[in-house]
Amino acid sequence: MDNGMEEAGNSMSAAVQQSKAAFDIIKRQFGPAVSEFDDNPTMPFFEVLDLSKWVEIALFMRDDVRLKFNYMACLSGVDYMEQEMLGIVCNFESIDKFTHRIAVKVKCQRDGGSIPSVSCVWHTANWHEREAYDMYGMTFEGHPDLRRILCPEDWTGFPLRKDYQVQETYHGIKVPY
């Protein structure tokens, strides 16, 4: 992501090539559970297709000596309205060992969808997943403390969904302008 200028045709920058090398190790280990590599220059990523393997993949990414993705920079919830799905996008990096970085996408159903929680693998995911639940409504199985973090506990609705309608009053106070 530093000077990711794409030359002509299919050549990838050095950073994307490093991500591809890391991805190949994961693909060899998990095969059909992960998708193919998307080598766009701004954020190369892959998608986890088999949700039940997500925690295993996470542990492998963190602990394998060739990968050592010990730093989870960000976990964002996303609303894929056209596909009727919700998802998370995680950005990983390796501190002090290697310089590769990669992004992972995990998707689930819009209504009642659930993604396994990786807060046991990276402690930072704890609050990020709570925020994704607060804003989008997908649950995280195995999360030690899944409740709203930014909105009040008794807020109705999931604010960042595309079809969110603001409630009229909250505890007797008018909400809209």
């Binding site: 989870m72 920079a73 960042l160 595309k162």
Partner: protein
């Protein structure tokens, strides 16, 4: 006398006396207390609520409750077009507005894939570093006032006013600038800019030494912060700490070096990491020391930029800004080194509209604060104040 049983929780002993009577003896009856360091508190640096479960003066667990300043930044990003988001990024970390704008602008510029003029890059780095110094001054000043030292607060704010005057002269506002636009700047710097910034640096260098002697080397301050809130390096990385927090735990990680952006590769500066001689590695004093030493490094960076900045006749800082900012379909995660850590923006563009599809702000303070529950175990309540001060939170960024 024969002791029949003992209950640890409220120190009860059941004893059969010599004359066969059974007697229950109780020591002091203790129980845990829930103390709410509520949203309005002079030492929580804003509206943070800490629910502390305490056993006397010792904290068993302190859990932060957030959301008292949740201002719906991410919802605004989906409703407002790309240039209009810049004032909202200012208001996220209001003490370091320029740095947050920087992070946002480089993220969108990566999506747009445009080239930024060199003079713009230099000015951006100068104002970002000036803002970093101002932010660290507030952090140090308020840390002192939390622990009872009122004078460094006044010294820090006096010097901060000089920086704010400079930034107001350039951008028009003291605190929330809206200065860095996507693809350029809103205005070029005035004619005497280099002279005035050089004057400020000459004025400020002895003041940094004075601040060190006043606060950092003060015995009471050292006693209150040394050995408090120690975080080992691997746990810090697992909690995704960044910036001065991670450097205070001994990890030499600075995004200006490890994932460079703008013209930082051409500049020569150190990344201070405490080695355990003055403070324990990973404690509150180390984190404070990193911030205090970083002020000198920022001054070095500004001096180099002033020397290297190209003079361009008739420069228009808005020349490279596209007429309509409509990036191609794609997504990016880009980050910058803020005074508090890594601030990143994950932006998804659908290629058709002038508004982002999704813009997530990865805020440094939110992530740094998530370790509070573990850091606070077994600390005394006054030490809790010292720990929060060393994390240096800004609630606008925590709650967005």
């Amino acid at each position: 006398m024969q002791e029949l049983g003992k209950a640890e929780l409220n120190a009860t002993r059941i004893i059969r006396q010599d004359d066969n009577r059974v007697v229950i003896e109780k020591d002091l009856d203790t129980e845990y207390m829930v103390l709410s360091m509520g949203p309005q508190h002079p030492s929580t640096h804003g509206v943070l609520r800490l629910e502390c479960i305490t056993d006397g003066e010792v904290v068993v667990e302190a859990e932060p409750y957030l959301g008292y300043l949740h201002r719906c930044f991410e919802k605004y990003c989906e409703k407002v077009d790309y240039p209009g988001i810049v004032p909202y990024t200012d208001r996220m970390d209001y003490l370091a507005g320029m740095n947050t704008e920087f992070a946002y602008c480089i993220a969108v510029e990566k999506l747009l894939d445009i080239e930024i003029p060199r003079r713009v890059e230099f000015i951006r780095v100068i104002v970002a570093e000036l803002n970093r110094i101002a932010s660290h001054l507030v952090a140090i000043g308020t840390y002192g006032i939390d622990l009872g030292a009122f004078t460094p607060f006044l010294f820090c704010f006096r010097d901060r006013e000089h920086i704010l005057n400079l930034l107001e002269w350039i951008s028009g506002a003291r605190m929330l600038y809206n200065y860095m636009w996507i693809g350029g700047l809103s205005y070029d710097v005035p004619a005497d800019f280099k002279k005035r910034v050089a004057e400020f640096i000459t004025y400020f260098k002895p003041k940094v030494v004075e601040l060190f002697q006043l606060l950092t080397e003060n015995e009471i301050f050292v006693k209150r912060t040394k050995g408090i809130g120690i975080m080992p390096a691997d746990v810090a990385i697992n909690y995704a700490w960044s910036g001065p927090m991670l450097r205070g735990s001994g990890v030499k990680w600075d995004l200006r070096r490890n994932d460079p952006y703008s013209i930082y590769p051409e500049l020569d500066f150190d990344v201070p990491v405490p080695d355990g001689k003055f403070s324990d590695v990973g404690d509150s004093l180390s984190r404070h020391l990193v911030r205090a030493l970083e002020i000198d490094e920022s001054l070095k960076i500004i001096e180099q930029c002033l020397d290297k900045m190209p003079e361009v006749e008739g420069f228009n800082s808005r020349a490279a800004i596209p007429k309509r900012i409509r990036p191609k379909a794609g997504e990016v995660y880009a980050r910058a080194e803020n005074p508090r850590g890594e601030v990143g923006f994950y932006i998804v563009s659908d290629g058709k509209s002038t508004k982002p599809l999704r813009c997530k702000a990865r805020s440094s303070c939110f992530v740094n604060l998530s370790a509070m529950k573990d850091l606070s175990k077994g600390q005394l309540i006054p030490d809790l104040v010292a720990i929060i001060g060393s994390i240096d939170i800004v609630l606008g960024e925590v709650d967005r």
